[in-house]
Symmetry: C2
Subunit: 206 residues, 2 copies
């Protein structure tokens, strides 16, 4: 297809597509004349992936470039890409104190996740724990319960991407993780209300 059709298919404006081509995050099409190129399904998938990262994830072009490079590099062992990409979707965390990191390591050990101590999200957890402590809360026991629940979440996440090809799988991981964070927070709030009703009865204004 020509660039105009690629734009219609994906909803991405032509100038934006040209920008992605120049930046090298979208591979060039097959040149058919001096001023024209032909694009295929792989360009549609790649554009959807880029859109997901930029629109849903708010990722910078530099991060997009990094992830795209990882995809193009690693055709060989795509089975582990899930874990890798999910790591790259994590915001950077500033310095974290050793006591909080040690507390998170204890949580991970209790969950049987000792291998995950070097995971960037362990630092995020330590930062949350530190912020909670500053406000007089110890969330470590809650982390253990939430971690157990997340084993179920992660099984569903991996089931969802199983059997897809690498581009599709990555797009699924990125879309599923970024949109999924919002969905998970929403489901948590509904579950809190449901559980609150179970324990204490129904609000009279409902």
């Amino acid at each position: 297809m020509r660039i105009a059709e690629l734009s219609r298919e994906t909803g991405v404006p032509v100038p934006t597509i040209k920008f992605y081509l120049r930046e090298g995050v979208l591979p060039a099409g097959e040149r058919t004349s001096k001023n024209q190129a032909r694009y295929d399904e792989s360009h549609i998938r790649r554009l959807r992936l880029i859109r997901a990262m930029v629109d849903l994830g708010g990722l910078s072009l530099a991060s997009v470039r990094e992830i795209v490079a990882a995809i193009d590099d690693q055709e060989s062992d795509d089975d582990q890409l899930m874990g890798r990409v999910s790591k790259s979707l994590i915001p950077e965390v500033d310095a974290v104190d050793d006591a909080s990191l040690a507390a998170v390591e204890a949580v991970l050990a209790e969950l049987g996740w000792e291998d995950a101590c070097s995971h960037p999200s362990a630092r995020t957890l330590a930062a949350v724990l530190a912020a909670g402590r500053e406000l007089g809360h110890d969330f470590a026991p809650t982390f253990v319960a939430h971690g157990r629940a997340c084993e179920e979440v992660a099984r569903a996440d991996l089931d969802y991407v199983e059997g897809k090809d690498v581009d599709q799988m990555l797009e699924s991981v990125i879309v599923g993780t970024l949109l999924g964070d919002t969905a998970l927070a929403a489901l948590r709030r509904i579950a809190q209300t449901v559980e609150s009703h179970r324990r204490y009865g129904v609000d009279e204004d409902e």
Copy 2:
């Protein structure tokens, strides 16, 4: 205690405390002279609550005022405040299409959460479902699995606040929910990596 000590205890600058007093979200202290007032533990707790809402939740002063008014009103049936406050911690969602709302209702029915169809988070879920569909994904089955996991999350959340007094409980709900969203997303990523290793083996770079 005097306002300077209240500031030291909470880390909130004196001018900010005066602003909260003027805005009526922090109750006045007991006046001891023309220019001085005395504050107590309840002011510390309330300031921590306000800080949690503003710093962690990014809530507007108007939202803070609303929640604070709800607390001051509802001393009587604080058992249901958990569900109510968790509802108020939800970002507004634009118009959602009927098909997505119907799909979310089916998900909630499958979870046995029929009563929750009017919960504001149901609209958030519908928006996520619609965004996913636009990118070629159907997340409804994943929502069911994630919803089951969130029952466990919510039980831990409610266990955490059980037996606290109303100010403490609300502060716990707000801090726990807002910080908890970040923690839950982090735990999910770690669980994805752990589950990915279980299924596909360990990355060679670790």
